[in-house]
Amino acid sequence: MDVQTLSVTLRLAAVTTAILLGLAIPIAYWITSTRSRLRALVEAITTLPILLPPTVLGFYLLVLLGARTGFGRVWIRLTGHPLAFTFAGLVVGSVIYSLPFAVQPIVAGFSGVDVSIIEQARLLGASRWRLLHSVLLPLSARSIGAAALLCFTHTVGEFGVVLMIGGDIPGATRTLSIAVYDQVQDFAYTAANRTSLFLVGISVVSLAILYTWRGAYAEARHD
């Protein structure tokens, strides 16, 4: 397996996961605490990437990041090159594509905290920030861990969005899933099998960790 490709893949997954946690925690907090009518719309938008074909998402991102849009032109003026077909462009695409995998487990975690505990925190004068960092985050640690794991694994395995936005540039935008595609195109089935097995292994290990957490949590609740 190509170490450079592995490095790009793991770097992309790590950066995407870190950014997604930073975005998803405030979004989930807003969703679980607001009475705004916009809540349904925000939930729909954050869930949309699950339903959209990755190529459709990739196409619109490619257009958005290119020189035809205001955002794309500003980016080019600031950096001297378009965001598409760069590692940074891949990160933008991955963040949007995996957003539901970060937001939904955290929303579930926050929603699972007993209302009476949240009310007690408010009675004791906790601000919204303190309620988040001293009560909701520690009590939703497993959900946040699950969100991180899902984002990481999902990003490692994504294909359509990566191909559309990043193309296939070795050392910059070629990830393991693109490498499998290339290897099959070259009839290098043994190499494709090795890369695929590695990706299967990552998914199996992630799911095993998730279900182990779930089992431990269920046991703790029954104690």
Partner: protein
């Protein structure tokens, strides 16, 4: 509001078929809010604490207007100077008993917080439990920690929503005695006639969302004297 009144409240709530319309004063430092299940006792406490918004209402604690829907005043729960202990102690499961009690003291300096926590641990005889988490405590121990937690920020009024149901009579009497010794005014929800009778308190009698009587418990509950004596004998 006249001198010596701890609280004055007028609350109107309509939720589906349930209607609550009450007006009452607290003058005694120990008042029992008494009524059958479904009379609206818990709803009254939640409105006073700021956890439920009434359709219309006005609440004054001491000289502070904490709610006035006509003037769009509604202080958030943490700024009302009111502590609430629910039926089931709502302790933070990830924090030790000591940290649970400390939670409401965020605005104070560390030495003051430590001293206050220690004082409450001593008062409720739970020093030995200070390092335990709620799941390592019995029901009675949890309620003691919950009361200490509610008292930590020195509220002007403490609301107790039948928190002693799981306790035996001796433990209940011990906690009530400690609370009365502290002197913090208490509005104590109960549907237990004996509770109201024995504690020589003021009482507010609630029935189907209406205050039907208020005054000294023994006067108000006099018509139920025979029932109380029967309960005491069994």
């Amino acid at each position: 509001m006249t001198e010596g009144q701890i609280l004055e409240a007028a609350i109107e709530i309509q939720r589906g078929s349930f209607a609550l319309r009450v007006h009452f004063l607290l003058r005694s430092s120990w008042t029992v809010l008494f009524g059958a299940s479904g009379a609206g006792k818990t709803t009254v406490l939640r409105v006073l604490a700021g956890l439920t918004q009434p359709n219309r209402g006005s609440v004054r604690v001491g000289k502070n207007q904490i709610l006035d829907t006509d003037r769009k005043i509604a202080l958030p729960p943490g700024k009302r100077g009111i502590g609430l202990v629910p039926q089931q102690a709502a302790l933070f499961p990830h924090l030790r008993a000591r940290d649970n009690i400390d939670f409401g003291l965020a605005g104070f300096k560390r030495p003051i917080r430590q001293e206050r926590v220690q004082e409450l641990l001593r008062l409720f005889e739970i020093e030995a439990l200070a390092e335990r988490k709620p799941r390592q405590l019995s029901g009675g121990e949890r309620q003691r920690v919950a009361i200490a937690q509610a008292l930590a920020p020195s509220p002007e009024l403490l609301l107790l929503d039948e928190p002693f149901n799981a306790l035996d009579a001796a433990s209940r009497a011990a906690i009530i005695e400690k609370l009365r010794r502290i002197g913090v005014p208490v509005l104590y929800v109960s549907h237990d006639l004996i509770d109201a009778w024995q504690n020589d308190a003021d009482a507010i009698l609630l029935d189907s969302g209406r205050v039907v009587a208020q005054g000294q418990a023994r006067t108000i509950l006099a018509p139920h004297r025979d029932q109380i004596l029967r309960q005491l004998q069994t």
